[in-house]
């Protein structure tokens, strides 16, 4: 196992991480991956996030050597592994379906890959024991995989891959088959495990909350391309495009054009200040929590007037949907229970936000 763990979310180190250059892949004439470039740092928890069918698994399989790319190259550490078959790569995969060997016990599943390492029997058994205890499966080595729950099989799959001491662990929707409780518990556990072993994790998921809560960095994918790469907070607060903005969390988008004084104007709604504006138009993106709620017209600052359409109480937060004349969709604002107290349908409110909270992103139309 690697001992040179570095702080996460640093820029990729070209000598020890993964470097993907210009990877493309087609199946039966359909382009599934288009010219993918990606750097993953050593010891990083890196997620590939995107809707189903966008090519995440294909990219992961290419990383693991289970698919061959049509073009492009892959380096892991200082080695070019582009033409290395799966069995020779320093990567191991945790499959979505777990891919347990049904004819082998849990311990033998975990020991499967060790045969090649020519260890003594004692050493091998010890390794397997240690790995099973790392994933909290002590004492279950003699069971058959069919006797385990989904969560336990998941851990066996993890142990089986980790025991190989890979430079990179690839996880394909590894938590998707678990129920919500277990999934949330496993998210935390997996993250802790990753810190403990210090291995680079490349984690595929279509669940944005999962990606946001676990990853050092995320590559958002769509239609076989990488749309944006960044830390979870960057993606959330500074989405580069409408697609990314809409995929991650909920967001309000208002079409704007540039106007005098570096401000932005929405036709019929007024002019707004926005720190990220640079003389271009586009979409003003506002997260629900950017808004303040005012019941009297504010004297200055960015504001929009509207009528409450719906108040949703969710315990820790309340959500307001506000109809604004001139906008197709209602704006969504989140606020504390106290801020929303007493508001009901058709009440007049002003939504306010500061110039630094709004974000200008290019309009894709």
């Amino acid at each position: 196992m690697t001992d040179t763990r570095k702080e996460s979310h640093m820029a990729a180190d070209p000598d020890s991480g993964i470097s993907i250059r210009g990877i493309s892949k087609s199946f039966d004439g359909t382009r599934v991956l288009r010219d993918i470039d990606l750097e993953v740092g050593r010891g990083e928890f890196f997620s590939l996030l995107g809707p189903s069918g966008c090519g995440k698994s294909t990219l992961l399989n290419i990383l693991g050597g289970l698919e061959t790319p049509d073009s492009g190259s892959i380096r892991i550490g200082d080695r070019d592994v582009t033409h290395l078959p799966a069995e020779k790569r320093p990567t191991n995969m945790v499959f979505q379906s777990y891919a347990m060997f049904p004819h082998l016990s849990v311990a033998k599943n975990v020991a499967y890959g060790l045969r090649r390492k020519r260890l003594g029997r004692r050493e091998r058994d010890e390794k397997v024991e240690r790995m099973l205890s790392l994933v909290h499966l002590d004492g279950l080595g003699d069971r058959n995989p069919s006797e385990l729950s989904g969560g336990q099989r998941q851990r066996v799959a993890l142990a089986r891959a980790l025991v190989m001491e890979p430079a990179v662990l690839l996880l394909d929707e590894s938590l998707a088959a678990l129920d919500r409780r277990l999934r949330e518990a496993m998210q935390i556990e997996l993250r802790e495990l990753q810190r403990e072993v210090g291995i680079t994790f490349v984690f595929v998921t279509h669940d944005q909350d999962e990606a946001m809560s676990m990853s050092d960095r995320i590559a958002v994918m769509g239609g076989g391309r990488i749309l944006q790469i960044g830390r979870p907070t960057e993606l959330y607060h500074a989405p580069a495009s409408r697609e990314v903005a809409e995929f991650i969390g909920s967001i309000n988008l208002i079409e704007v054009t540039p106007c005098a004084g570096g401000r932005l104007e929405a036709p019929g709604l007024g002019a707004f200040d926005c720190d990220s504006a640079a003389g271009e138009g586009g979409l003003l993106a506002l997260r629900p929590e950017c808004f303040g709620i005012a019941r009297e017209a504010p004297a200055a600052g960015n504001r929009l007037e509207g009528r409450v359409r719906e108040v949703t109480f969710l315990g820790d937060r309340s959500y307001l949907r506000v109809n604004v004349e001139g906008l197709e969709d209602p704006l969504i604002a989140s606020c504390s229970f106290r801020e929303a107290e007493g508001l009901s349908r058709d009440d007049r409110v002003w939504l306010t936000w500061s110039a630094e909270d709004g974000r200008l992103i290019p309009s894709d139309r």
Binding site: N61, G64, G65, L66, P85, A86, E87, K88, T91, N92, M93, F95, Q96, S97, A99, M100, F101, P102, H103, Y112, G113, R115, R116, N144, R160, A161, M164
Partner: protein, 265 residues
């Protein structure tokens, strides 16, 4: 449905079940019964108990030779058919091939065709090529009949398992050959055993092909057929039949025990 109706039915059903079982097993049970019968005429009433036919078995070299031929041909054919069938099923289930559907659709054709026709055709073929009749030609005939069965058994077994297991094996450092040996083979073991048993049985009691394709070295069914002309030899054949029955019974029980033991585990 009335209550009395529902209560009556088990009586009828039980009677039916008893008749059904009698019909199935009585003819077979006649074989061991007469093999211990102290008399050369195979007819009721039984004439006392003897084991002499079993003793005479060991003094019937021709019969033992026929038995040996059948066992050897059966063993070779079942191993060959299962091996080839497994490889074929492997290719068909894992790789896209042009014309796969029609080819696999027609794979049962040799069996659907009347055996006599197939036997005649093979006889002609062997004559034309001029290799001469022998146990090899018998084995060839049996192989043709057994292959489709082996293929079908193995195909249903191989189709039922997940590709990701193969990927996992390669990901864990094993090449294609080792993956086949460590994953594919053990997972398909139950299929392989059924295929071996099925094709062995098919070959062991096959008559038509053996009759057409054998020369002086005959298999057991052909030998038995030739002995039916001599009533005095029949009890010895029955003794052999009983032993074969016993062996099959032991095999079936063993197979069942093995199967339960595997699924319990």
């Amino acid at each position: 449905m009335t209550r009395s109706h529902a209560r009556k039915r088990p009586v009828l059903l039980t009677a039916y079940a008893v008749l059904f079982l009698l019909f199935l097993y009585v003819p077979i049970l006649l074989v061991p019964a007469f093999s211990f019968n102290d008399g050369t005429i195979v007819a009721f009433p039984l004439q006392g108990f003897t084991t002499r036919w079993y003793g005479e078995l060991s003094r019937s070299p021709e019969l033992l030779a026929a038995l040996r031929h059948s066992l050897v041909v059966g063993a070779c054919v079942s191993v060959l058919a299962t091996g080839l069938g497994t490889l074929g099923a492997w290719v068909v289930t894992r790789y896209p091939l042009p014309g796969k559907a029609p080819v696999t659709g027609f794979i049962m054709l040799p069996i659907v065709a009347p055996l006599v026709v197939l036997a005649g055709a093979l006889f002609l073929l062997v004559q034309t090529v001029g290799v001469g009749l022998s146990l090899y030609t018998v084995g060839l005939g049996h192989l043709i009949v057994c292959l489709p069965f082996a293929f079908q058994v193995m195909r249903s077994r191989l189709e039922s398992f997940d590709d990701s297991v193969l990927k996992a094996s390669r990901d864990l450092g094993e090449g294609r050959v080792a993956t086949f040996l460590r994953v594919v083979l053990p997972i398909s073991a139950p299929g392989i055993i059924s295929s071996l048993l099925l094709t062995f049985t098919l070959s062991f009691d096959e008559f038509v092909l053996s009759f057409f394709l054998s020369s002086t070295e005959v298999t057991l069914p052909v030998y038995i057929w030739s002995q039916l002309r001599f009533p005095g030899r029949l009890p010895v054949v029955l003794a052999l039949g009983s032993l074969i029955l016993l062996a099959s019974f032991v095999l079936v029980v063993l197979g069942e025990v093995l199967r339960r033991w595997r699924t319990d585990d």
